[in-house]
Symmetry: C3
Subunit: 474 residues, 3 copies
């Protein structure tokens, strides 16, 4: 039993054979993870994972959101109340039982594919989860977690991870990354990613000033003026690069980017810090700063990742109680052609600049992203991601993108996960899926076998190294 060895391959025998052979050639290539949310402390500390729920349920909003949709309360899944007066957390075993009880609701989802892979590969669990076997599977996982080969660093080797990028605030001095670099017993490659969203979205004067004061502290540069603020950000980027970073990451509702003059933006910066603010100030500043971030990327070579179009913290009551990242962020219609016009006009053909665009609005694939990526040399396309990190969704992406843009501007797969143990499963689902896509192109005589083999290896391994400029180890 367990996950079928030919899962996700086309059911038609001829195509299946091609897909399987393509897959066999890429299945064991090292994993490149250029965009994710694992905490570097997991590897720096290398501690045993506490329990099955804390490993596989509570911190993974891909999983908790599906349970919440069934009426399960987030607190009953161990999600921590960020306010005061936190009630006692539920027993991990009870959390696990909830997952088992609602297991049928995961049918057809990516989450099921990933969890089944993890359960089988890491814990030897090959039967479907169920209420009847909940305690037994809980104990089996808990037993495995006590083994040394289940420690994070051991898993790093076992997973075949060649690079793991984390996502980090410029305010973070990256002690875990520093510790890993210093540690003579560790030679894995873990790199930070510069994500300055909170230093660009000027929400609230008090909070904004507090953040900019912290930026001054960590950078040792006075942020009292716009010039100082820019220098501080540039300095933080340098620090990140010294610790191996090759990319930045930007998740705003819109990617509208329009530069202001130095004097205008200086006055705006002062207003944002001191008040009184004017209507639209925050948007104008973000728009200016996205252009400025592109300018910095053109200068220092950090690859700029853009992923607009998500309404964050839609469930405000849950946000007040549990904070962000609980699965209540939802996409909205978005665009790239119009809002990015000025940015691409200025940097789209700049040899030092590279931007990787992600979307959770599929309508832009054939309409905006493929046409623009097949014209502007600086624009690469991120993999279908988040809600679209799923077999049929990936097929739609490849189908919509490649007829216009080919394969050469695809940045490869990103797992985008905070669930460390799901990384190999996520890469495996992707590899199976695009090998199936390529098998059909072979079956239609649009690619020959050797071309398909090359494309599969590129997407799995060479493209993300190239796209994220990870080829040369710092």
């Amino acid at each position: 039993m367990g996950p079928h060895p030919e899962r996700l391959f086309p059911p038609e025998p001829g195509l299946r054979k091609v897909a399987r052979e393509l897959y066999e050639a890429v299945a064991t290539l090292p994993l490149i993870s250029p965009h994710g949310h694992v905490d570097a402390n997991v590897l720096a500390r290398d501690e045993q994972f506490p329990d099955p729920a804390a490993l596989l349920v509570t911190p993974d909003h891909y999983v908790t959101r599906l349970l919440h949709a069934q009426g399960v309360r987030l607190e009953d899944l161990g999600v921590r109340d960020v306010g005061t007066g936190e009630p006692p957390a539920p027993e991990p075993r009870h959390i696990w039982r909830l997952l088992c009880r609602y297991w049928p609701t995961f049918r057809a989802t990516s989450m099921r594919l990933w969890l089944e892979h993890e359960l089988a590969a890491l814990f030897g669990i090959e039967e479907p989860l169920s209420e009847q076997t909940a305690d037994q599977t809980y104990d089996q996982i808990a037993e495995h977690l006590r083994r040394p080969e289940m420690r994070p660093r051991a898993l790093f080797q076992r997973f075949g991870l060649e690079v793991l990028a984390t996502t980090d605030s410029p305010l973070d001095d990256l002690p875990a990354h520093r510790a890993l670099r210093r540690d003579p017993t560790w030679d894995g490659r873990v790199v930070p990613t510069f994500r300055p969203d909170q230093l660009i979205e000027a929400h609230g004067i008090a909070r904004w000033n507090e953040l900019l004061d912290r930026l001054a502290t960590v950078s040792r540069i006075d942020t009292g003026s716009y010039r100082g603020y820019i220098s501080a950000l540039e300095s933080r980027r340098e620090t990140f690069m010294e610790l191996g970073a090759t990319a930045t990451d930007h998740g705003h509702l819109s990617v509208e980017a329009e530069a202001m003059s130095e004097s205008e933006v200086s006055r705006l910066y002062d207003r944002l810090r001191l008040g009184p603010r004017q209507r639209g100030d925050e948007d104008a500043f973000r728009s200016h700063m996205l252009m400025e971030m592109a300018r910095m990327s053109a200068d220092d070579g950090l690859v700029m990742q853009l992923h607009p179009g998500v309404w964050r913290n839609h469930d405000t009551a849950a946000f007040a109680r549990f904070g962000p990242d609980i699965g209540a962020d939802f996409p909205v219609a978005t665009g790239f052609t119009a809002p990015l016009q000025r940015l691409l006009d200025r940097f789209g053909s700049h040899p030092g600049f590279r931007v990787v665009a992600f979307t959770v609005d599929e309508t832009v694939y054939s309409r905006e992203l493929a046409p623009m990526a097949s014209y502007y040399p600086s624009l690469w396309l991120g993999a279908p991601w988040w809600f679209l990190d799923a077999p049929a969704a990936m097929g739609r992406f490849w189908s919509a993108i490649t007829e216009t843009a080919g394969f050469s501007k695809l940045a490869g797969f990103v797992d985008d996960t905070r669930a460390y143990c799901s990384i190999p499963a996520r890469h495996d689902v992707a590899r199976r899926t695009y090998c199936s896509f390529l098998a059909r192109l072979v079956g239609e005589h649009r690619l020959d076998r050797s071309e398909a083999t090359e494309v599969a290896a590129d997407f799995a391994y060479h493209s993300p190294l190239a796209a994220f400029r990870l080829g040369i180890q710092s």
Copy 2:
């Protein structure tokens, strides 16, 4: 001849076998029709259908629109001029001949699938329609219509209809529903649905006052104030529930919902009745009332159906002459994430509240509906509907929704028809189509056979009963 017994199944032999077996297990399950537009009088009166055109062409805008697109005038299809000076209606036989003449233009459409099913199953007509055989098929249908087994109540049994929901104005005192309930010779389940659109869209002071006066009359509650208006609506909901209603239905251009304070909305209500109105008053009122409808649903448990995004009566000349529902309603781009934020923030996790969202804009499937339905317990997803009630469109829906949200939040199939005899055909097309979809998941080892069988039966039967709270007969 006639419709092929394996129509709509995948052509690949392995998948076809699985699809056929899944279909065989659900083909004869009772029909649940929780959302439709059949007139309850059809069953209350149980009269013989007058003629083939009046049964299959004239009242079905799914059919007349396709003929109109070929240049056939609506009046030549028997569509009644709502003004004065109505010209004599065409001979039913001439209408039928037009359908036969243009039969090739129905190729690949759902309408052809439905009509072929009806013609074969009810009238023994297994050859394609054609001008040559038009009179012969007309006579053959006319002959069948005279038989007692072709009366509406007999067909209700033969169709295996377990529940049939109609769609009704709060101004309707539901005499047909009352008559059916009183009739000792009738034990079918026909329930009304509360559709208050016209009482929420305040178009024109005179018309608005007339409607609210009628609301006062039917509810016996003074609607002179906002409070009275709300009480009258609540009272009508109660009456509908006494007659078996479990749902409301709301079709506005936007689902923007934002509550005003009691005092604000009272003043607005007075302005709408007495004037002078201000710009935006009608939109603000509708937006407030959608939130209020959600509040009532949370209180009384009626399931709220939302289907925004349709520009009604696009062809204003035809509207002036023939009225609404002639096939000239067309979708526009729409959204759910932003406009429903306040409503879901307030009621999305409320245990009493349930909303079923329908769309004719496919872009929201993976972008908005699946992400939100897999977080908010109150949100269920309606089947692809209207223009999207078709095999490939259903496949796109299932594919885009289920990888993110699984199957558990799908409200099952709705036929949404005013063509009574098309109900079994529509359910049959849907059952064949999702069994084919499930067969592919089985073929890709994403579901095992027993799971697929369960999902198929859920979607056909158990899910609509559960989603529309039809499980307990009132």
Copy 3:
């Protein structure tokens, strides 16, 4: 070697057999090219094509854009600098080498399908292009180009072109078209298309006056007043019709169409010519003129082609240097239901009027175009086009359109190319693709074989003749 004879057919053996048989019945039907951008001078002059790069690379932005996306500079591909001080053009052989070098980046694209077809059919090149063989293939093509059978008129016969429509400004007096008509040695059918965009988009007073003065000159009608301007346009349409035109073509960002009163628009016209202009004047004029163009089409019978939703000249630096049509036009979200409401309300059922709508925003297929085309007799649907002229994209179009609207309102394939030699390849890819689509409908028992054969021939040949009113030769 060379392109596989069964390329683009379904890999499943049963479907492939049906697709191949359908294809064989349409493969050699004459080519109808009702919408394209070949220069009529190519045929009027009938000169030898200068070299492989000038034939297959430099003038074809479908090709140059993909090379530009790899960082190749447009000037290195021979794209002419429109300013002064033009640097010496690169050697054609060097341009060809660049195409060969980047050939792998064309994988999975339409451009590869077309080029492979051309290379094999016209030049006997059946191996993939590569840097190693670049000089050899260059020489082989160059040698063929010197042969008389490679002259444009000889190819017109060989391609089986029955009609070729060009795209022309009303300011063009069409000397090439006149010359072809006069030429006793030529009997091919080459017709102009009336594309008045630049005379409707009133950009800049000086440029606008210059264009309208040129309109006066070519039409010999004073354009000093709105009335004269309208008469001049009507007169130009007549001239185009005398030279065989059956259609107009309109590519604006929006298809919003709303008429003003005669007096309003006269004042607006004067403001646009003399100034000072008011904010929104240009948009209001275009909107009025689109309605006026529909009015003229209803009067004179020219088929109106609409293709909105493209942001032109996105890369302004490249536009300043190289002009338009370099591949830097990108789609944006667009709509038809709302902006076309007034136009279709007035002319949608007018017997003399016909409009063919094209889109590069796939979201409107099932949401707006199919619903409206299956109601309004005047509305036909253009083929998936430009970025969407590709096998999978065509499949999405057919799938999304035909379940709602059938096949009868499809205007057939258009090649939309300025690359003369790509015409047969583009039609061939389309024919293979829709035969594969139809084969699946046959496999699902939604069409029988004879119906599929009829639909295939319609789409290839009869539908474009009918849709573009090309049936009767002028």
